[in-house]
């Protein structure tokens, strides 16, 4: 039984970690790659890697940090390898087809699609900010980039999204 696989020093249980964090890992990969099947494959690889590295994980907090970091790295690698979705700058993405109101169910899918078209770094920043609810300092630590760069990516991406929706609203008026 895999549930018996534990790190000897910390007592961390692999099965428990997987149960607790499978949605986190899958969702990070899914929001990054916008492909459910590929995201599941990436998530599986992340947990296999955790299984192999369990003895190096020192605490549940370390496991959480490790999973976020490795998932983003794997998702970036997978995105590059597949090159399935040519990177398009957010500025180049078509505006929403109709005026979108908050609470519109189409809005969420539109937002996910727009996020998936961002370049790697701002995409990772936005996903960690709004999926994981992390602050810029935590995101900076995971992605290994300065806090100022994280804030810049956040501000720029939000401004572009706002501009896109505002332009559309003005067009409808």
């Amino acid at each position: 039984m895999i549930g018996l696989v534990t790190a000897p020093q910390t007592g961390l249980d692999f099965d428990a970690l997987m149960r607790r964090h499978q949605s986190l890992v899958f969702s990070l990969a899914y929001h990054f790659l916008h492909d459910r099947e590929v995201a599941e494959e990436v998530a599986q690889e992340v947990f296999l890697s955790l299984h192999r590295n369990l003895r190096n994980i020192q605490s549940p907090e370390h496991a959480l940090f490790w999973l976020r970091k490795v998932t983003v790295q794997r998702a970036i690698d997978e995105g590059r390898r597949r090159a399935r979705r040519p990177q398009v700058a957010l500025e180049g993405v078509a505006e929403p087809a109709a005026q979108i109101q908050p609470q519109d169910p189409m809005l969420r899918e539109t937002l996910r699609r727009l996020i998936a078209t961002l370049a790697e770094a701002p995409r990772a920043v936005m996903i960690l900010r709004y999926q994981e609810d992390l602050d810029p300092a935590e995101i900076a630590e995971i992605l290994g980039m300065p806090v100022a760069t994280v804030k810049s990516h956040l501000q720029r991406s939000l401004a572009l999204l706002r501009e896109k929706f505002a332009r559309r609203s003005m067009g409808e008026a």
């Binding site: 499978q22 969702s27 947990f47 908050p102 969420r108 936005m126 996903i127 939000l158 929706f165």
Partner: protein, 95 residues
């Protein structure tokens, strides 16, 4: 947090993977464990193969050394025989 950030949170909320996700990972970790368990055996086999190759190499070099020594000895014997032959002819003519 304005409406856009709230909608981003909603759009990017966590989703569950397929129901058999954990089981598929478990199956793969069992295979992984099997492969991990085979690592020491593989290392031993590789080390044994290296030892055999190294031994064979040394043996071959020894064989080559013996061959060379025998050839040198043969050359000395031939040269010695020639010298003896020449010495015998010189002695005969001097008589």
């Amino acid at each position: 947090m304005d409406w856009l950030e709230q909608e981003l949170k909603n759009a990017l909320e966590r989703k569950a993977p397929s129901p058999d996700f954990a089981e598929r990972v478990r199956r793969r970790t069992r295979g992984d464990g099997f492969r991990t368990a085979l690592w020491p055996q593989r290392w031993l086999a590789a080390a044994a193969a290296l030892l055999v190759l190294a031994g064979a190499g040394m043996g071959y070099r020894q064989y080559q050394g013996n061959q060379a020594r025998q050839q040198v000895m043969l050359a000395f014997r031939i040269a010695g025989a020639k010298v003896n032959h020449i010495q015998a002819q010189v002695k005969e003519r001097m008589r």
